[in-house]
Amino acid sequence: MTRWIFTALVLVALMLLAMVRLFKGPTAADRVVALDAINTLVVASMIVLAVVFRQFIFVDVAIIYALLAFVGTLYIAKYLGGEL
């Protein structure tokens, strides 16, 4: 069980690292890139944490996550491209 929670720990720490780009990013597009990375890492850590808790239905949350954060990213990209 330790390996799973260690994996989740590293993934969350990487999320904090990606937040540096969210802070620094000179343009809004860079920030969206960081958001995308955080999104992927959250999904991965949720799948791993479902094993940690031994609650396998929790993976549903990860699917919904991957599906819906995408929509937010698309709205931001559409606005950024000046098309909204």
Binding site: R3, T7, V10, L11, L14, L17, A18, V20, R21, T27, A29, D30, V32, V33, A34, D36, A37, T40, L41, V43, A44, I47, V48, A50, V51, F56, I57, V59, D60, A62, I63, A66, L67, A69, F70, T73, L74, A77, K78, L80, G81, G82, E83
Partner: protein
Amino acid sequence: MILSALIWISLAVGLTFNALGVIGILRFPDVYTRLHADTKATTFGSIFTSLAVVLYAAGEFFKDPEGQYETLALHTVLAVVVLAFTNATSAHAIARAAHKRGHKPAQAVCDRLEETAK
């Protein structure tokens, strides 16, 4: 035993690529190259961490078929498929938006899109 080793290897590979992706986001000079690191490396890393979960589910399933481990495996696979698809598409959307906004690719040797736009 072999399965356990495989799970360890998958986790290690997944974490390595996730870390490389995040470092790439921090290191690369412009939006497009950062998107390269983000899309490819983190998606690949997440596929491997999820593969570890699927392997774990398979191993437990052979020990105890009643434990509903097939649900875990199937939902994980579905999550990964959705993740890969959405990541690729949103990377395209971000890149296009950035280009429309006028961000030049840094250190570029050629830019065919801009030439046709003119």
